[in-house]
Amino acid sequence: MTLLNHKHSTIEAAIASIPHGAVIMVGGFGSPGTPFALLDELLAQGQTGLTLIKNDANEPDIGIGRLIRAGRVDRLLTSHIGLNRIAIEEMNQGRLAVEMYPQGLLAEKIRCAGAGHYGFLTDIGLDTEIAAGRREIECDGRTWAIEPAIRADIALVHADLADAYGNLVYRGTAINFNPLMAMAADRTIAQAFEIRYPGSLIPEAIHTPCAFVSQVVQVDPVTSEQGRRAHAI
């Protein structure tokens, strides 16, 4: 239990709670939705031996790209790392263990952990290379693959708006994996551009109810990675 009125945190304190060797989900598809400020703080604090779960590897000089480059990441569960040549190089050199999943299965495996189940049964990829290593089962006369859920110790997510209880609203294509990950980790740390008083968000428009959020950290759009990139365009 995280008490409602103890969620607003400094970025230092929030990230300091992450131990070496943690299994960490990181929101974002490319840059949108990536919690750049939280990741930069994680880089600064020096946690190592990390397992990261993220749709992609960002680019070499931003987001989890920086953590990979600094050798902090032992293992990456992902869908596509084509925009990060360093990550591909680290993988090919055997310094970074990479598990690749089809994007929709990765999303669904995370969502399944967030829903509190063991796994799901799917026909995706049955006759392809990814079927190797999956356990299959017959149901109703057809073959299905068992896809176990993927959970994490910590989720780092980026929201557009939060309230002090930890309710989150995402924006645009920055939604992506964030609400799924917020539900699938034991603890969720959210960064948001703005943290409002409870009651300021429309109940129907809240994507992640506060029950799934442990800490919220306010980040400045101008000094965050997104902000820096905005000024560079």
Binding site: L201, E204, P209
Partner: protein, 217 residues
């Protein structure tokens, strides 16, 4: 002199800690939210898809699309959210609800709970009770100590189909507050004016009672 139900609810309200997420089962537990301090920072979860219920202010027109799981019209407090049924039960199965209060037909000294079906008599469906009972860390049963025929409801072993096995933390009746422990059912508080012998007589379960530590309510 409070009624039995008022006594149960007033005592139950003391189980809630500020900052918690609280689910209230259909029936008696639903009324608990009238017993919590108005300014207490808790979020009431109702499994039909709302976090942050509060009683509808008297004289306020009901919003027809805002009900709790018992069907009563409700209001919401600042910080409330509404969501679909899959997310609502994800919250339950992920143990994000801190405490739930439920009624019981039977509850036993191992913490087994039966509150959804009386074979041949009553079987309207289990609703959301099974997942709440199985997954919420703290389940407090609120019920009368005996049924309307005077038979004990606090048993050695449940006889009715279970809602979930070994799920109950605490039982609050008009006669006692009992904690389910590894050693058995330990009486924490006993009702004002009730003798220990009378409590034992009204109860089928074995009760562990240390009179020197017994509270009154």
């Amino acid at each position: 002199m409070p009624s039995d139900q008022e006594r149960i609810l007033a005592r139950a309200a003391r189980e809630v800690v500020a900052g918690q997420i609280v689910n209230l089962g259909i029936g008696l537990p639903t009324r608990l939210f009238h017993y919590l301090p108005e300014d207490m920072e808790v979020l009431i979860h109702s499994e039909n898809g709302v976090l942050g219920c509060q009683p509808l202010a008297s004289g306020r027109e009901a919003d027809l699309e805002m009900i709790d799981s018992g069907g009563a019209y409700i209001g919401t407090r600042p910080g409330a959210s509404v969501f679909d049924s899959a997310l609502s039960f994800a919250m339950i199965r992920r143990s994000r609800v801190d405490i739930t209060f439920m009624g019981a037909f039977e509850v036993d000294q191992a913490g087994n709970l039966a509150n959804w079906k009386i074979p041949g008599k009553f079987s309207p469906g289990i609703g959301g009770a099974m997942e709440l009972a199985q997954k919420v860390d703290t389940l407090v049963v609120l019920c009368s100590h005996n049924d309307k025929h005077g038979n004990p409801k606090i048993l050695r072993h449940c006889r009715l189909p279970l809602t979930a096995p070994r799920c109950v933390s605490r039982i609050i009746t008009e006669k006692a507050v009992m904690q389910v422990t590894a050693a058995g059912l330990e009486v924490i508080d006993i009702a004002e004016g009730l003798e220990v012998a009378a409590l034992r007589a009204a109860t089928e379960a074995e009760l562990i009672i240390d009179e020197s530590r017994l509270g009154r309510f």
